[in-house]
């Protein structure tokens, strides 16, 4: 469904992705784990089209993504819940969700919003409040819900567990696992490698702009080096 080949990207003169290869097949949950600064967020930003690439190929559902503006990639079914909960702080919770479905104006927008509220009841309670006033965890829920409003075929999630209490991490991971049953393909970028690998089918390990290991989630969880470097056991 999504294929990344030899992807390179730079900030100014400094190259941060040195040729990344990655495949996401339809219906999978694929996770990219790695330390801070490994280039995971840059990878997602390149796939979404908000970060220029300097080499390599990106193909989604058979269509090359190079040169395609970000908003057209969303129309193709590629939605991202960005790192740091980049929500629209000055707009209400409900307006944030409505804008998630910016490309649509049919009855499904309402049912999708009802589903988002069912998934995270706290958002329904605060639907008319400015999103900037939500707590960190609530903003994370809003960012994920907003991305789902775009009816993605493939959802890109950037650090959904960042800064959250363990119980919230578990809740969000449950939600992601449930997406699979809804037919949504997920590419999950996480520093919390253990939480991510537990729900993923396959995983990639990134270090300083390169993929250094890949395999099924079970293989990675069982790997001694991974356990030492990322799982803290």
């Amino acid at each position: 469904m999504l294929s990344v080949e030899n992807l390179r990207s730079r900030y100014g003169r400094i190259e941060v992705l040195h040729g990344v290869d990655l495949q996401v097949r339809s219906g999978e949950i694929v996770t990219v784990v790695g330390a801070n600064g490994a280039g995971k967020t840059t990878l997602l930003r390149c796939i979404s089209g908000v970060q220029p690439i300097s080499g390599g190929n990106l193909v989604f559902k058979g269509e090359p993504l190079q040169g395609m503006p970000a908003h057209r990639r969303v129309a193709l079914g590629l939605a991202q819940s960005p790192e740091g909960r980049q929500i629209f702080t000055s707009l209400s919770v409900e307006e944030n969700l409505r804008l998630g479905a910016y490309l649509f104006a049919d009855a499904r927008v309402d049912t999708d919003m009802a589903e988002a509220f069912a998934m995270f009841p706290i958002l329904r309670e605060k639907r008319n409040l400015a999103a900037g006033g939500l707590s960190g965890g609530q903003q994370q829920m809003l960012a994920i819900s907003r991305a789902l409003m775009a009816r993605p075929a493939c959802l890109l999630l950037d650090e959904p567990s960042m800064g959250l209490a363990p119980i919230l991490v578990a809740q969000i991971m449950d939600v992601i696992r449930n997406l699979k049953t809804l037919g949504v393909t997920v590419l999950l970028v996480e520093q919390n490698a253990y939480a991510a690998l537990r729900i993923a089918d396959r995983g990639y390990v990134m270090e300083t702009g390169r993929v250094t290991m890949q395999g099924t989630a079970e293989e990675l969880i069982a790997d001694e080096r991974i356990r030492a470097a990322y799982l803290g056991v």
Partner: protein, 290 residues
Amino acid sequence: MTELLQYLVSGTTVGAAYALVALGFTIIYNASDVVNFAQGEFVMLGGMVTFFAWQAGVPLPLAALLAIVAAAVIGVLLNKLAIERAGAAPVVSLIIITIGASIFLRGGAQLVFDKQLHRFPGFSGDEPMNVGGVTILPQGLWVVAVAVMVFVLLYVFFTRTLTGKAILATANNRVAAKLVGINTDYMMSLSFALSAAIGALAGILMTPISLTSYDLGVPFALKGFAAAMLGGMGVPVGALVGGLLLGLIEALTAGLVSSTYKDAVAFIVILVVLFWMPQGLFGRKSMERV
């Protein structure tokens, strides 16, 4: 008493025009956090293009429409050729670009048109009406009515339509806006076009009352900016109230103190707002979790 009423009437008229200019500031500010100091040049273009088209034999309503479209096109060009090219430049740089654009447009108007004062007749004649000793120009009623109408339309646009909210989202977080599928370049162009058209409208409406010339943009930009600051930058209702208030204060100063100080009012308002209430009358308190 009649005198005071007269000041109120003329203050409301001028204030409505300031409100329109301030609404123009509001739109671009809402889309991009940029204060567009070329806003006054759109006011100038509205009056000048209408006058020269009208003089060339185009019927007045058509000439006015032509001027609005011309201003909107120039607004879009300003965004495409100057603002968009600047890419990820900080807001201050973008504001400086608009100051440059304003000088360029003023110089261009001086070359393309001329340096004379111009006027065309009011939409409903120039015969003043006398209401209880107070003189009201029919054109003044046009200015106020159009300002209120534009305000209502903008209010509905920004609070009830998805496109309006997409403009707000673009301003609030450009990257997130792209990630939900908003074409942010288009939203910027749209807001420049809207803002320029409203500025031109103000210029067209005011020309029968206060004449137009190539250098009219600076005072209008300054006063529209003061009005927008007074009401609270980025808030449509603030622009309307700020504009009307500024017009009234100006008219009362001219009438009760001295017309010499009339133009100082806008500066004093800017200073007072900056010192004591930087959010303006209706400004949003910025609330953000870090």
